[in-house]
Each structure stands twice: as structure tokens, then as C-alpha cells.
């Protein structure tokens, strides 16, 4: 037997190739790779730079160079002289108290301001993973009660303020937060009902979800503001804000139910069967085994639903409830300031943007954690 024929000899090791020569320094290399990689890309870059430059210069001239920052009292002659040429930012310091807090008694406006801070603290705490425990529910209940006490008052020397005087940012946050706090459990129940084996319960849940999701939110709000009083017995009169709040809870429940249902479908069958084998009841099985896993699966889409919901609260403008957008629109009814809506909308837009952008960043970081983990 001959030895194994022809074993190839180890080829001579070849040293690593030298790094490609960068043309120019670091910056030039980056520019070449990212902005001027090819002729069409270069043309696109130059075109975009031209348009961007023009837009920036126009905004600079309108928003900063020619803008009026402060006027005394309601004397807006200086602003009106520059209409279309320069912005009138003076409208913001003049009207911000009204935009943020509506017609809440002026001297008591520290109360809604404190409520807003509690809301923000609540959101920040809830977003931390280390706080995702049972105690969080208690914290939410406590915070919402404190906010209610602050806004209504009527004790400890705080004067009583009725709901129709509430307005601005607190109302937006109240509608969104209470809507979610009550809509979320409702959504979980409906999602469970939709996957139930009992046909009557399942069809009721399907009917509810599809009916609410099939029609625009405005028609639900109209229902709450016009139709709801018709459905109440004589003498029962529910406040307008509360009626809108109920509509929002029903609306949020339907949308959140669909998200939670997606999560329930992602929990594997074995988990259900194992829970059954342990002899857990229906509610124990879902509360202890299924739901914790299901909700963990759908946290990013849940946050996206929260964002959409937060933006949708602005629709109460149409039924005349004083949320942040409505106060902004009302602030410029004042004849002296009538023509400066763009500035006010930009101001309010920044507030909405900060909240939504924070949430969307948060959702993205959660998603990144999940794909890594």
C-alpha cells in the first residue's frame, strides 16, 4: 500500500494586504464614501444641500433674525408690521399660562403644574425595567388618586375647582393616562374573551373590537357628547370630560386588545398545557403563566399604541373639551394675537413632539434590547 498520494504542501503564508489608501484624511474619506460615492449620489447631495440651505436661511430670517421676541402688553403693532417677514414669538410668553393650564384659576395653577410633574415621574418610573413589579400597580393607583385630589381640591385649604375649568396639558395627560390605565385591563379581558372557547363570549368580543376599530374615533366622541345623554335615565347627567374619557377607554380597550391578542398567540402551546397539568384554574393559568409572557412579547407595539393614543387625545378639540390643542386654538382667538397661529402651533407641536419622541425612542431601545437578548 502506498502512502496517501499527493498531500498538498502547506502553501507559503501570504501576509495581509495593505489597507487601501485613503484619499485625503479621515473627513475626506468619509465624505467620499457617504456623500460623493458616485456621480448621481453627488448630484443628489448638492441638490439636497441647496434646498436645505435655502430652507434654513428662510427659517433663520423668519424665526430668529426678523422675529419679535417680546412686546409690552397687548400692543402687537410691531408684530403685525412684520407679518409674513418675521415670527412673533412674543405670543408665547404672553399666552403660555393659558395654553398649558386653560382656565384653571390663575393663582392655583401650581396644582396642575404639580400634577403634570407627577405624571411625568410616573411615566419615567414605569419605563424602568427594575420597577416592573406588582408594587407598580399600587404606585399607579396612588399617583392617579393624588392627581385627582390636586386637580379637584376642596380640602386642606385647597379651593374646589370643577372639571369644566380644567384645561391644557393636564387634560391631555389625564385623558391619555386614565384611558390607558382603564383601557389596558379592559383590553386584556377582551383579548382573552376573543380567544375563549365559549362561542357567545367570543362573538361578543369580536363584535366589540371590530365595531370600534371600524369607525373613526370622532364618531365615538360624537356619540359620547351627543348620544350618551340620550341613553341616560332622567336626572343623570355625566360631565362632558368624563363622557369623553369613557369613549377613550372603550377606544383604547379595542386597540390594546388586538395587540395583547398578538402576544397571546405567540405563547407556545406547551405553556398552556403545562399550566393545565399543574391543575391551575383558568384565571391562575393566565395571570401567572400566560399573560406575563404574552405582554413581554408585545411591549414595543404596546408603546407604539400608547403613542398613537396620546396623539389621538387631541381629537377632543372637535367636541369642545379644553385639551392642549384646544387651548392653543383658543389662545389666538384674542383679536390682538389673531394672526399668529403658526407660532402657537409650533410651540404646542414642540410639547407634543417631546412626549411622543421620548416614547418612540424608548420603544426602539426596548426592541434593540430584545433582539440582542
Amino acid at each position: 500500500m502506498s502512502s496517501v498520494a499527493h498531500v498538498p504542501q502547506d502553501p507559503l503564508p501570504i501576509g495581509p494586504r495593505p489597507a487601501p489608501r485613503a484619499l485625503g484624511g479621515h473627513l475626506t474619506a468619509w465624505l467620499r464614501a457617504n456623500l460623493f460615492a458616485s456621480i448621481p449620489s453627488s448630484i443628489m447631495t448638492l441638490l439636497l444641500l441647496f434646498v436645505l440651505g435655502k430652507a434654513c436661511i428662510a427659517f433663520w430670517q423668519w424665526g430668529i433674525a426678523n422675529a419679535v421676541w417680546i412686546v409690552s402688553g397687548n400692543d402687537t403693532a410691531a408684530c403685525r408690521a412684520l407679518r409674513g417677514v418675521g415670527a412673533c414669538w412674543a405670543v408665547v410668553p404672553e399666552k403660555y399660562r393659558f395654553i398649558l393650564f386653560g382656565t384653571y384659576p390663575f393663582d392655583e395653577q401650581w396644582r396642575p403644574a404639580l400634577a403634570v410633574l407627577i405624571f411625568i415621574a410616573l411615566f419615567v418610573v414605569s419605563s424602568r425595567r427594575s420597577f416592573w413589579r406588582k408594587e407598580l400597580f399600587l404606585l399607579w393607583a396612588a399617583a392617579l388618586i393624588v392627581i385627582g385630589c390636586l386637580m379637584w381640591g376642596g380640602f386642606l385649604g385647597l379651593s374646589f375647582v370643577t372639571q369644566d375649568r380644567w384645561g391644557g396639558l393636564p387634560v391631555t395627560l389625564i385623558l391619555a393616562t386614565f384611558g390607558l390605565a382603564f383601557g389596558f385591563p379592559l383590553g386584556i379581558l377582551v383579548a382573552l374573551g376573543r380567544r375563549s372557547k365559549l362561542p357567545a363570549i367570543r362573538s361578543l368580543c369580536v363584535l366589540y373590537v371590530e365595531l370600534i376599530r371600524g369607525v373613526p374615533l370622532i364618531s365615538l366622541l360624537f356619540m359620547a357628547s351627543v348620544m350618551f345623554p340620550l341613553f341616560m335615565p332622567d336626572g343623570v347627567n355625566i360631565d362632558k370630560l368624563l363622557r369623553a374619557q369613557i369613549a377613550f377607554i372603550l377606544y383604547a380597550g379595542a386597540y390594546l386588545a388586538e395587540v395583547v391578542r398578538g402576544g397571546l398567540q405567540a405563547v407556545s402551546r406547551g405553556q398552556y398545557e403545562a399550566a393545565d397539568a399543574l391543575g391551575l384554574s383558568y384565571w391562575e393559568k393566565h395571570a401567572l403563566i400566560v399573560l406575563p409572557q404574552a405582554i413581554r412579547h408585545v411591549i414595543p407595539p404596546l408603546v407604539n399604541t400608547f403613542i398613537a393614543f396620546f396623539k389621538d387625545t387631541s381629537l377632543v378639540l372637535i367636541i369642545g373639551i379644553f385639551d392642549l390643542l384646544t387651548t392653543a386654538k383658543t389662545a389666538i382667538v384674542d383679536p390682538a394675537w389673531q394672526s399668529f397661529s403658526v407660532e402657537v402651533y409650533l410651540f404646542v407641536g414642540v410639547i407634543y413632539f417631546v412626549f411622543c419622541f421620548a416614547m418612540s425612542r424608548y420603544s426602539r431601545s426596548l426592541e434593540a434590547q430584545r433582539t440582542q437578548g
Binding site: I201, G214, L230, I307, S341
Partner: protein, 395 residues
């Protein structure tokens, strides 16, 4: 050998106790249904009582009465002397007008922005990202009011912006040149549509034949004949004229041309930009969901760039894109109801006016819901059909 058929275990006798799952199931269902029926009955009896106290008659008889509401912007003939029913039809047409055009424009712009986000050009990708982020994180109603205010701040008709000959932008809205459509023009358009349909079927047959023997059969002669020659011939024979009417400034307003009222234009811009931001994200994630190996393998086979995109990447991306796209289309249609905030008379706005004039709250809101449920169902059915068509065929 005898085959023993597996016997089903004998059915367990029912026990009248909640620990029997069948009894428990029945009990809960009856309880929930009873509660639901009780609530509905309670609300209904209240409603009947309240309506009789306020002397509002129920039913849709009011639809036959004279509406007396002016509608500024309508594509079908309408005067305030017409009935409520006709006003509602105008509202439905107005809703569809903004929804259909909005869906088409939002899809085009959203796809472009979504592709731009994946561009290798850093500046273009960044600008597209900013576009998406800003538009997604502001409430649509705020954007709508913003565009409407900008629209009102435009110069009067006499000083209108004129970017191109025949196009005017003023506080009267956007005025475009138009082609007046007479009967002869409609015949030509009909011929074009018929030609397109016949050509589509013909092309499918040609491809089926190519599948059998592998010989390519060119389709362009048929295209030339059916889609170009036929309409031209019909247009010539019927004597259609295709002259373009340019809008003209007479006094304080424009005459001729196609006018997009400021309310309609603002609503369209707001809906299109807002929805396109969401569509851009859907398109981006759809393209990213196609593994890179697919296009690399296709290139390794020597296929051309356009062919790879059209036949390898896009069909796979579409499978991911279509389902979320459907819900965006539904959202756009539902969001078109924000028209009421700027006074564009869509179905919601007209139902709202009717409600205030007649007090028929239940009927008006039921009509809104019926219209939107029908439209939603239509879009869902169409998109599900399309989705099934492009779904992966497994062999």
C-alpha cells in the same frame, strides 16, 4: 386478525356543579350575554323615553326632507333645496375623493421616502429619517390645523404664487389647468381601459405559452395596438378634443381650470404627509426583511439590477409590506373624518350638521358608522384578495 377500532371513551355524565367545565362554560356565557342584553335594554328604554320627551321621532324618514344646508365643494350637483339623503351622498363622495387620492399619493411618497431611508447617501437617508420622525410624532389634527392656517395666510388671488404657467396657489386654494371631458373623451377613455384589460389577459396567455415551450413571445406589438392605436383611433373617429383649459384671473377669483379648495388641499396634504411617514417605515422594514443573500444570489446568476428588484426582492418584500399597509389605508380613511375641524364637508361633517339641524343623533351617527364600516370592509376585502394573490405559493 381482527382490527380493533379505537373506542371513544364514554361521554362523562353532566354534573350540575361549576367544577364541571361544560356547566361552568354554559354558566359564564349565559351570565355575560344576560348582562350585555340587560345593559342594551336599559340604554334603549332610556333612549326611547328621552326621545319621546324631546318629541324627536326615530327612523330615517328625515332623509327625504329638504336639507337646506349649503355645501361649497361638491363633485355632484347639489343645491340646499335637495334632500338630506342627497347631502349624505355628497358627503360620501367627498370622503371617498379625499381617501382614494390620499391613499394613492401617500403610497407613492411613502415608498420613495422609505427607499430614501435606505440610501447609501448619508444626507438623503438622514433627511428621510427626520421627515418620518417629525411627522409621526405630531398629532394629525395639529398638522391639519397648521396646514390650514398656512393656506389661509397665502396671498389673495390677485397676488397668487405662480410656479408654472396655469398653476396658481392662493388663499382660494390650488388651481390647476384641466381638460374638459365631453362625451367623446369618455369614449376614448373607455377604449383605453378596455384595451388595457384585454392586453393584461393576452400577456398572461403569452407567458403561459412561454412556460410550455420556453420560446419568448414579445408582447409589445399587442401593447402598441391595444393601448396606443385603439384609443387614438377612437379619439379620432369620435372627434374628441383634448384642449387644455388654463385658469384665468377675472376680478377676485379664477375662472376655468380645476380648483382644489383650501380646506380640501390642507386635508389632503396633512393626510398624505402623515400617512406617508408610516408607510415609509413599513416599506423600509419590508425591504430590510428580504435577506441580502437573495439579491446577491440573483446577481451571481447574472440577472440585471432591475430584474432582480422586480422579480426577486419586491415580491418577497411585498409579502411583509401588504398587511400593515392595509391598516394604514384604513387609518387614512378613518382619519379623513378630521375634515370637520377645517370645514371640509365630508360625511362626518354633513352628518354633524344634520344632527344639529334635526336632532336625529342616533340616526346620523349610525349613518357615519355604516359608511365607514362599509368602506373599511371594502378596503380590507380588496387588500386581502391582493395579499392572497402575492402570498407564497408552496409546492
Amino acid at each position: 386478525m381482527t382490527t380493533s377500532t379505537p373506542k371513544r371513551p364514554p361521554a362523562r355524565p353532566w354534573r350540575l356543579s361549576l367544577s364541571d367545565p361544560r356547566v361552568a362554560g354554559l354558566f359564564w356565557q349565559i351570565l355575560v350575554v344576560a348582562i350585555a342584553v340587560a345593559i342594551v335594554a336599559f340604554l334603549w328604554s332610556n333612549a326611547i323615553h328621552n326621545l319621546s320627551v324631546r318629541r324627536i321621532s326615530t327612523g330615517f324618514a328625515f332623509l327625504g326632507r329638504e336639507a337646506g344646508m349649503p355645501i361649497a365643494d361638491s363633485w355632484i350637483d347639489y343645491t340646499p333645496k335637495d334632500t338630506y339623503l342627497r347631502a349624505f351622498i355628497v358627503g360620501v363622495v367627498n370622503t371617498l375623493r379625499v381617501a382614494v387620492i390620499g391613499i394613492v399619493l401617500a403610497t407613492v411618497i411613502g415608498t420613495l421616502v422609505g427607499i430614501a431611508r435606505l440610501s447609501s447617501n448619508w444626507l438623503l437617508a438622514r433627511l428621510a429619517a427626520v421627515y418620518v420622525e417629525v411627522l409621526r410624532d405630531l398629532p394629525l389634527l395639529l398638522q391639519l390645523l397648521f396646514w390650514y392656517v398656512l393656506m389661509q395666510g397665502l396671498p389673495a388671488a390677485r397676488q397668487a404664487f405662480k410656479p408654472v404657467e396655469g398653476v396658481y396657489l392662493s388663499n382660494r386654494g390650488l388651481i390647476l389647468p384641466s381638460v374638459p371631458l365631453h362625451e367623446a373623451n369618455w369614449w376614448t377613455i373607455l377604449a383605453l381601459v378596455a384595451g388595457l384589460i384585454v392586453f393584461t389577459f393576452l400577456r398572461r396567455r403569452l407567458i403561459a405559452q412561454q412556460m410550455l415551450d420556453g420560446r419568448a413571445r414579445p408582447a409589445w406589438p399587442y401593447a402598441l395596438g391595444l393601448v396606443v392605436a385603439l384609443p387614438v383611433l377612437v379619439s379620432f373617429l369620435s372627434g374628441a378634443s383634448w384642449s387644455i383649459t388654463l385658469p384665468e384671473l377675472r376680478g377676485f377669483n379664477f375662472v376655468g381650470g380645476l380648483t382644489l379648495a383650501p380646506e380640501y388641499f390642507a386635508l389632503l396634504i396633512a393626510l398624505v404627509t402623515y400617512t406617508s411617514a408610516f408607510i415609509a417605515e413599513i416599506v423600509r422594514s419590508g425591504i430590510q426583511a428580504v435577506p441580502r443573500g437573495q439579491s446577491e444570489a440573483a446577481k451571481a446568476l447574472g440577472l440585471k439590477r432591475g430584474f432582480v428588484l422586480q422579480h426577486i426582492v419586491l415580491p418577497q418584500a411585498l409579502r411583509v409590506i401588504i398587511p400593515p399597509m392595509t391598516s394604514q389605508y384604513l387609518n387614512l380613511t378613518k382619519n379623513s373624518s378630521l375634515a370637520v375641524a377645517v370645514g371640509y364637508q365630508d360625511i362626518v361633517s354633513i352628518a354633524n350638521t344634520t344632527l344639529n339641524q334635526t336632532g336625529q343623533a342616533i340616526e346620523s351617527i349610525a349613518l357615519i358608522m355604516m359608511v365607514f364600516l362599509t368602506i373599511s370592509l371594502g378596503i380590507s376585502l380588496f387588500m386581502n384578495w391582493y395579499n392572497a394573490r402575492i402570498a407564497l405559493v408552496e409546492r
